[in-house]
């Protein structure tokens, strides 16, 4: 038995997930069909959109100094939700990635991350001066 809170809408139903005598998954506590769908996804294939920042580099390869108007980090995101159990490994990979300015929104910084179909892209265009 597992307890979950459905996050599909603001109601926040408290779901109880159990297996019946035939070994079939049974969801109770949901007020609509979306609750059951959520529970199924959350149990068999939990995913999250990952947003992170990567280090920014100036066009000459140096790091923006303290007096610079440019940010030292560039926001990145997974294109869609990413398998939850692989998130720590993904964060490790992103820590080693630098983005050279100017950055362009949508540029892929990590293609098919960790063997999934999910890319990591730049989330904000930043000029280089």
């Amino acid at each position: 038995m597992r307890e979950l809170i459905c996050i599909t809408c603001p109601m926040g139903c408290h779901l109880v997930v159990d297996t019946d005598e035939h070994g079939e998954m049974k969801v109770t506590g949901n007020r609509c069909a979306r609750g059951e769908h959520y529970a199924r996804e959350e149990i068999f294939n939990p995913k999250r959109v990952v947003t992170f920042t990567c280090a920014a580099l100036l066009p000459d390869g140096s790091v923006p100094g303290p007096g610079s108007d440019l940010p030292r980090r560039v926001p990145v995101r997974t294109t869609v939700a990413f398998p939850k159990e692989k998130i720590p490994e993904l964060l490790g990979a992103l820590r080693g990635i630098t983005v050279r300015l100017p950055a362009v929104r949508g540029t892929v910084v990590l293609q098919k991350a960790l063997g999934t179909e999910v890319d990591v892209i730049v989330a904000r265009s930043i000029a280089s001066k």
Binding site: G12, V50, T51, R73, R77, L91, A123
Partner: protein, 399 residues
């Protein structure tokens, strides 16, 4: 930006004055997703949401003066005079026929909620920590406790965890979380971070740097000192509410409403200073940026109408009924469609939102779930208030 685009579309020249290095305000440091579901029908990060507006601003050649701090606004010779400074231009005096206030809000700090204890380094507001991590690229500490369960605090619990820090607890004085349920699940439960409801931080320890905090449970409204416990940490983040930033408005003599800490506004979102409008978090604190953009567009359109000479023929009073904390705006134009925002005082399933004209229900809506942290909205058509007289009052109630 949304207000500026609306004014520009109606043929009025606009200038945006922005204190930061970039347009977009607080969105630039909100790198998490969840923005834009209403506005763009997709889930965007903060910078992505801001950039869509910024691209439109550029396309329309709307002027923006960055790194510019407004110091004062005054009524001078039938116009508004704006006094501001910037490193490149120095002191400037700008004349305008109308002003839209969109300064946003700021975080309540340790001083605002009076936490006892020493004053070591390592106590930050959650938004400041967010800026340090996401834009400046610094980690403010390793062992973190978060005070308050507001959304920024919850988002930062996940952000700090993903940055390799340990978040030991979130402490909330109320018996229920102040953030959205989805954030409790995704930002706390995913990382097994304990949430202490009905608990108060009663001490902060440490001489140079935070060394720990004392937490005391609250039972039936009383502090249970004998059950107090300590949590060791080197960093404390505060997520204890937001306050509209109205220093400029107050100095200009604009009337501020105690219920919202924002300016009093009429049905056109115009403040008590004619020609000065307000929208977004400087008017009242919103929970979704999509609502901010909608309200800002409305302020822009209203300012354009006002500049073209439109004045409402009459306005009737909007007031709060049972279980409603505030209604925005405080006046209704019975000849136009009115968009109202309000906040609940209660947590309830299957609630009924009622609009009463002089006591009689003229419109109602069933709501599956209401809670104080989720703003409610309502569109009131002219026909619903057609019977309104000179001294009529519209009351919004939740039953």
């Amino acid at each position: 930006m949304a207000a500026a685009l609306e004014l520009d579309a109606r043929g009025h020249p606009v200038l945006i004055l922005e204190r930061e290095d970039t347009l977009g305000g607080i969105l630039m440091q909100c790198i998490h997703n969840g923005f834009g579901l209403i506005e763009f029908n997709e889930e965007l990060t903060g910078p992505e949401f801001a950039q869509r507006f910024e691209e439109d601003i550029r396309k329309r050649n709307i002027q923006a003066s960055l790194r510019t701090t407004v110091l004062d606004i005054r009524e001078e010779g039938g116009l508004k005079a704006i006094y501001c400074v910037s490193p490149s231009q120095g002191m400037m005096r700008i004349e305008a026929r109308a002003i839209i206030l969109a300064m946003g809000c700021r975080e309540r700090s340790r001083g605002n909620i009076r936490i006892p204890g020493t004053r070591p380094a390592g106590v930050y507001t959650a938004g400041l920590a967010q800026r340090l991590v996401n834009i400046e690229g610094y980690i403010p500490g390793r062992d973190v406790v978060i005070i308050g369960s507001g959304d920024i605090g919850l988002i930062m619990a996940r952000r700090m965890s993903w940055s390799g820090c340990k978040v030991h607890a979130v402490i909330e004085i109320l018996p229920y979380p102040s953030g959205l349920t989805r954030n409790i699940v995704q930002c706390l439960n995913d990382f097994s971070i304990p949430l202490y409801l009905s608990h108060l931080v009663t001490d902060i320890y440490g001489r140079d740097r935070v060394e720990g905090i004392e937490v005391t449970p609250i039972e039936s409204g009383a502090l249970m000192h004998e059950k107090a416990f300590k949590i060791a940490c080197d960093t404390v983040l505060l997520s204890v509410g937001l306050v509209p930033e109205n220093e400029i408005s107050r100095n200009a003599g604009i009337e501020i409403q105690p219920a919202t800490n924002g300016p009093w506004v009429d049905s056109m979102l115009m403040t008590t200073m004619p020609g000065v409008f307000a929208c977004g978090n400087v008017l009242h604190v919103h929970d979704l940026v999509d609502y901010v953009a909608e309200e800002a567009r409305r302020a822009g359109a209203n300012a354009a109408a006002w500049l073209s000479g439109y004045r409402p023929a009459r306005e009737i009073r909007a007031k709060t009924g049972p279980n409603i904390r505030y209604v925005m705006p405080m006046r209704i134009n019975p000849e136009r469609e009115n968009r109202l925002y309000m906040r609940s005082l209660i947590v309830k399933n299957d609630a009924q939102l009622e609009v009463r004209l002089d006591g009689a229900v003229v419109k109602s809506r069933r709501l599956a779930h209401v809670q104080p942290s989720e703003m409610l909205s309502l569109t009131l058509e002219p026909k619903a208030v057609a019977a309104a007289g000179r001294d009529s009052t519209v009351e919004i109630a939740l039953v």
